[in-house]
């Protein structure tokens, strides 16, 4: 559906770490929710998170009764010998009739495409398809209908890309921003022995340590390595390798070698993204609370509706929800970010 400005109403795709969060997101105005099973088949394989197959089934009924879609993330890479767990996830998704599965691994995509030709496939950001040719490879090979773009392209590049690919585009607009190319990062496995690609884990809590000294300075550690240190009273971030402070020969002081602990917030770029041909706007945060999901989804629901109606969108309430209260537009506005 297009309005007078030539904008097509985008689908608001929202995170659900639990069935309760899913209902919250749907009630707050999500057009689609995405979730994962309680195992290594998805990239947010955290304790206390995710869905049993029965919960997916119940959630699907809840979402469909309210005109919302349910997308199942099966977006990790099964190591040889363990493919059955991912095959079962795809079988379950097809049997329950989820609206799409989000896949990254070529083998999983092939299994889904060959076994269930009617099952809609979205290409996960974990597949790291960042060029028209790479995206076309997945479209032609597996019939992928939508690509979730890596968070490394500018809006202008997304607009160009839109003209060159045969599928829909989903773009991240809000939430935690990883600095490394998705699906190609072994840092967590290097330090903790838990793999992002194979286990769906990044910086597992079991390897996180906080140490406070007499002056109340807090040191955060992941496995054997110090990731950051905070003066007394400074708010300490979770120790994620790509957001830590390090030393190198080229500099005198500790610095954020990869990125500062900021969150992505593209609210100001929403109209541009919609004009660039983005079909779906994605909010990150399956690990977040229901209160967070309600605030963020509600704010973006109103913003998208305002933009479609030609009104100015307001976002002040979102800043308080970003990580460490600091935000970035990341790569999206210009190449200078690189």
């Amino acid at each position: 559906m297009s309005d007078v400005q030539g904008l097509t109403r985008p689908e608001l795709v929202c995170p659900a770490g639990t069935p309760a969060a899913l209902r919250t997101a749907v009630d707050a105005g999500a057009d689609a929710v995405y979730c994962g099973l309680q195992n290594e088949t998805n990239a947010r394989n955290f304790p206390g998170l995710n869905f049993t197959v029965a919960e997916v089934e119940q959630s699907l009924r809840y979402a469909h009764a309210r005109n919302a879609k349910l997308l199942l993330a099966v977006n990790t890479f099964p190591p040889a010998g363990k493919f059955a767990m991912w095959r079962d996830a795809i079988d379950g998704a097809a049997r329950l009739g989820v609206d799409a599965v989000i896949v990254a691994d070529m083998g999983v995509a092939d299994y889904a495409a060959q076994t269930y030709p009617d099952l809609r496939l979205h290409l996960s950001v974990q597949a790291g398809a960042s060029s028209p040719e790479a995206i076309r490879f997945y479209c032609e090979q597996f019939g992928v209908k939508r690509v979730v773009l890596p968070r490394m392209l500018t809006v202008a590049e997304i607009a160009d890309l839109h003209r060159e690919i045969p599928c829909e585009i989903e773009a991240f607009i809000f939430g935690n921003i990883g600095m490394m190319a998705e699906g190609r990062c072994y840092l967590s496995n290097y330090v903790t022995g838990e793999s992002t690609n194979m286990d769906g884990v990044c910086s597992p809590a079991a390897d996180v340590h906080y140490e406070e000294d007499a002056a109340r300075n807090l040191t955060t550690r992941l496995g054997d390595y110090v990731i950051d240190r905070f003066a007394g009273g400074e708010s300490a971030g979770y120790p994620t390798i790509c957001k830590g402070r390090y030393l190198c020969g080229a500099r005198n002081d500790a610095y954020y070698a990869f990125e500062e602990p900021v969150s992505l917030n593209l609210s100001a770029l929403l109209p541009e993204l919609m004009r660039a041909g983005v079909t779906a706007l994605k909010i990150e945060g399956r690990q977040r609370s229901r209160a967070y999901v309600k605030s963020v989804v509600g704010a973006f629901r109103k913003a998208v509706d305002d933009i479609m109606a030609g009104r100015e969108a307001a976002f002040a309430s979102l800043l308080a929800l970003t990580e460490g209260r600091r935000e970035t537009e990341g790569a999206f506005p210009s190449k200078r970010w690189r």
Binding site: K82, M106, Y111, F137, C185, I227, D228, K335, W337
Partner: protein, 307 residues
Amino acid sequence: MTVQASKSELTLGPVLFNWQPDVWRDFYFRIADEAPVETVYLGEVVCFKRAPLFDDDREAVAARLKAAGKTVVRSTLAEVMSKQERQMIEDVCAGDGLVEANDGSALLRLRGRPHYAGPFINVYNERTLTVLAGNGVRNVCLPPEMPAEAIRALAADAAKLGVSLEVQVFGRVGLALSARCYHARAHGRTKDSCQFVCNEDADGMTLRTLEGQPFLTVNGIQTMSHDYLNLAAELPELQDMGVARYRLSPHSRDMVAVAAIFRDALDGRIDAAEAGSRLDAFNLGAPFSNGFYRGRRGHSFTPAATN
């Protein structure tokens, strides 16, 4: 020199660092003349901005390697977004030689003719291998985080599909890629204004923790391990699995000597302990690791059990 007849091939991966063009050329000339490796991968994998620096020498290097009896395989960029990067992929894939794809755009362009899949392609399982074999992939260099049990499981299917498997056995391990250049960032620049500052670090730039502990290595947009992968002790097991090719990733040290050590180890002339002590003599300035292979923390090193 002649290469020992053996089922196990030794290969030299692409130079991942930004060396001075004359150093780069002379490195390959010496590899051509002296190193006991069968296959040499050639091409810029990390940053499209570096590639033109080697334009003058690339064909001469390829010719010298071929004249010495080496198989030359062109490696493609690992991260492809911009028009220039896409053009590079198109140009490399347009040649009639063997190409190793390192991203999805190269997989598209090479489909339907024999080609290789590099370590930046996520080949973790038999079904992915089957898809790629159907497209013409003949050799797969596995992602470095693959544990032994998965390699063993995959090797059984690879043999049936007629695809050879390759495993990196020496050198710093690529751990991540980014759109942002961290070399430029360390020097207060951006990727566009980098002035090729990555050429100051022949084996990458060390990142230390706030305690001063060496941790990671920055190489442009790539983040690598601080330690050097050393699978000398695991060679017999990998050979038993049916892995055909063993990749050495180039460093500024004497790679001819490194290749000789691994050749001797592959051919059973020296054991793991002997290989280890000969590698120790290079004073790499960083420990060895084999944790990924052992299914442990990637940076860890478990010495071979002594019999």
